[in-house]
């Protein structure tokens, strides 16, 4: 990667640049250095290590008997992995989309000089605060057909109401979406709220004079200028989506069957419970590959964009 790039100040190479550089010139690089080192070792180093392991037949602990790509072959012959990947697609897509939409809308609503904004904001945020180890139980109850919403609605007189997603292998992934959106959308809201608070008031005035109504002002002027916030939110949400482990562990434990498995659970189960580090590493690499496929083009377009000074 970029060790060389980081040291290479563009001017230094050029004629005329004094060779002597002051400490001040190096300061940005010096302060970044710890992060760079740590990233190189603890992210990329481990990533390479994992890549290497994915080509071995490591079982309980890492070993270095290379078996080529056969772990990947096994992986894609594994029904459970395919289910997990498909689930990730559905779950990730829906989760990110709903969180973004909900987060934006709630942030905009909260930004309308709402009385007791603080209380409402905290309510939207609190699901983040409570460990899923326990909220999982509460959700399990709520989503359970025999004593949750369904019962609630039936008790309220809607006798035909059915809500059995949690036990339906085809629908259970939507339960994950519900719980995950509940948990993460508040934070997305907070991100956007912080962004909204940074928008120059004059711009809004200008837009109003141009005849834009509140909705259009948000859509055309304010939200576009929050592009970096969308970026943050996207990264955070995809991070949560791809790493959703607790959620599945607590809410469905992968069930019914393994119909609500996500790759993170698959990977964890194989790496640690089933002593298949090789296979687990392969699945981790595939997960990473999926992220790269989505993230890299996005990153590219995002980082190329000029900053608005």
């Amino acid at each position: 990667m970029k060790t060389n790039a980081i040291n290479a100040e563009p001017n230094k190479a050029r004629a005329g640049r004094p060779a002597r550089l002051t400490l001040a010139d190096w300061m940005p690089k010096i302060v970044m250095a710890p992060t760079v080192i740590v990233t190189l070792v603890c992210m990329y180093g481990y990533m390479i290590w994992t890549a290497v392991l994915s080509m071995t037949n490591s079982r309980m602990l890492p070993s270095y008997d290379f078996v080529g790509l056969s772990q990947y072959e096994r992986l894609f012959n594994n029904d459970r992995w395919i289910v997990a990947l498909t689930n990730l697609g559905i779950f990730g897509g829906l989760f990110i989309l709903i969180c973004l939409v909900l987060g934006v809308i709630l942030a905009i609503f909260l930004d309308q000089k709402i009385r007791s904004e603080g209380a409402i904001r905290t309510i939207y945020l609190y699901p983040m605060a409570i460990s899923f180890i326990v909220t999982g139980t509460a959700w399990k109850w709520l989503l359970n057909p025999t004593n949750g919403f369904e019962k609630l609605m039936i008790d309220m007189g809607f006798t035909d109401f059915t809500f059995d997603w949690l036990v339906n292998p085809d629908k259970v992934v939507y339960c994950l979406v519900i719980a995950a959106v509940w948990q993460a959308s508040g934070f997305v809201m907070a991100l956007f709220l912080a962004g909204l608070r940074g928008v120059d008031g004059d711009l809004i005035k200008a837009a109003q004079l141009d005849g834009a109504n509140t909705f259009t002002t948000y859509r055309r002027i304010i939200l576009p200028s929050l592009k970096p916030v969308f970026f943050s939110a996207m990264v955070i949400l995809s991070h949560i989506a791809i790493k959703s482990f607790d959620l599945v562990a607590a809410l469905t434990n992968g069930g019914p069957g393994y119909s609500s498995d996500l790759p993170a659970n698959f990977m964890y189960a194989h790496t640690f419970t089933r002593s298949q580090i090789g296979l687990g590493s392969a699945s981790a690499m595939v997960m990473l590959g999926c992220v790269l496929a989505i993230l890299v083009p996005y990153l590219y377009s995002e980082l190329r964009g000029e900053r608005n000074e």
Binding site: A190, G198, V235, I236
Partner: protein, 295 residues
């Protein structure tokens, strides 16, 4: 934004109606968000028998606070039965340094990446972001070895280190994206005024970063406080964070499940985070860069 609404003193009927609708939406969404919490709270106040027999949302016949005191000080987490209270200190010892260090690092990194660009800084940022998508589960083993090698395995310091390492990508992301919209002229002006790298950061940039600091602290505090995986894998027997204790408390494999104690413990374990939300919330302020530049 507020400016949109602030202008009108006299509002038309439609606007008043919209406003009522707005509050209705906000409050009903809040109610939905609160539902699981209400379930937890109600449950924590019932006794075991009532949980077994009653329905989810029925109010407790009488309030039982003993589940709370039990969760706090006498529920068993492993072979010790001191509740979750002894573990709070561990958590704080991990969370506070880790949040501070990762936020500060993130702020500085974001500042460098958006205002002191050098060749490769954007590339590094991209690399950092991609890097943080490495599933945490796969790094457990190599990280364990690294920590052992550094001599900080199973210590609080080790946990702080791990949380900083895997938190810094996000904190950097938040700050960098916030600083994208800060006028670059401010840094230019300060450089001319003779301010150095850190002075600019400290005197000019940090003071206008409050909303994003709040967001970052909320995120980091929550992530680290609620972390289980690292907490369990890298802690020693005497440095376990509260989540591990909570997990131990909740996960019994036999004996009647004391849901009320579980719920009480969970709510208690979440209190520090909630307090952070409430305290930090008032720094969601507006207009920090207003008046800086023209254009």
């Amino acid at each position: 934004m507020s400016n949109i609404k602030a202008i009108r003193r006299k509002t038309t009927a439609i606007e008043r109606l919209l406003r009522v609708a707005l509050y209705l939406v906000l409050i009903s969404v809040a109610a939905i968000y609160l539902l699981p919490f209400i379930v937890m709270l109600i449950t924590s106040l019932k006794d075991v028998e009532e949980i077994r027999t009653g329905t989810l949302l029925s109010l407790p016949a009488s309030l039982h606070f003993d589940s709370w005191s039990k969760a706090w000080s006498s529920a068993c987490t492993g072979s010790t039965c001191d509740g979750i209270s002894p573990f709070f200190l561990n958590s704080f010892q991990i969370v506070i340094p880790a949040v501070i260090i990762s936020t500060v690092l993130g702020a500085i990194n974001g500042y460098v990446i958006s205002m002191w660009k050098f060749r490769g800084s954007d590339l590094f940022f991209a690399a950092l972001l991609i890097g943080c998508f490495i599933p945490f589960q796969v790094i457990l083993l190599p990280m364990a070895r690294t920590l052992g090698w550094l001599g900080i395995a199973n210590t609080t310091t080790g946990l702080v280190f791990v949380h900083v390492v895997y938190g810094v990508a996000f904190t950097t992301l938040f700050f960098r994206n916030f600083y994208q919209s800060v006028p670059g002229e401010l840094v230019k002006a300060a450089r001319l005024d003779g301010a150095g790298f850190f002075t600019i950061f400290y005197r000019i940039i940090l003071p206008i970063s409050t909303p994003i600091i709040v967001v970052t602290v909320i995120w980091q505090f929550t992530q680290i406080w609620n972390d289980f995986l690292f907490g369990v894998a890298f802690s020693g027997f005497d440095t376990q964070p509260v989540t591990v204790a909570l997990n131990n408390l909740v996960n019994t494999s036999f004996g009647g499940k004391e849901y009320n104690v579980d719920m009480a413990a969970a709510i208690m374990a979440a209190l520090p985070t909630l307090i952070v939300y409430v305290l930090a919330g008032k720094y969601f302020v507006r207009g920090l860069t207003a008046g800086a530049v023209k254009g």
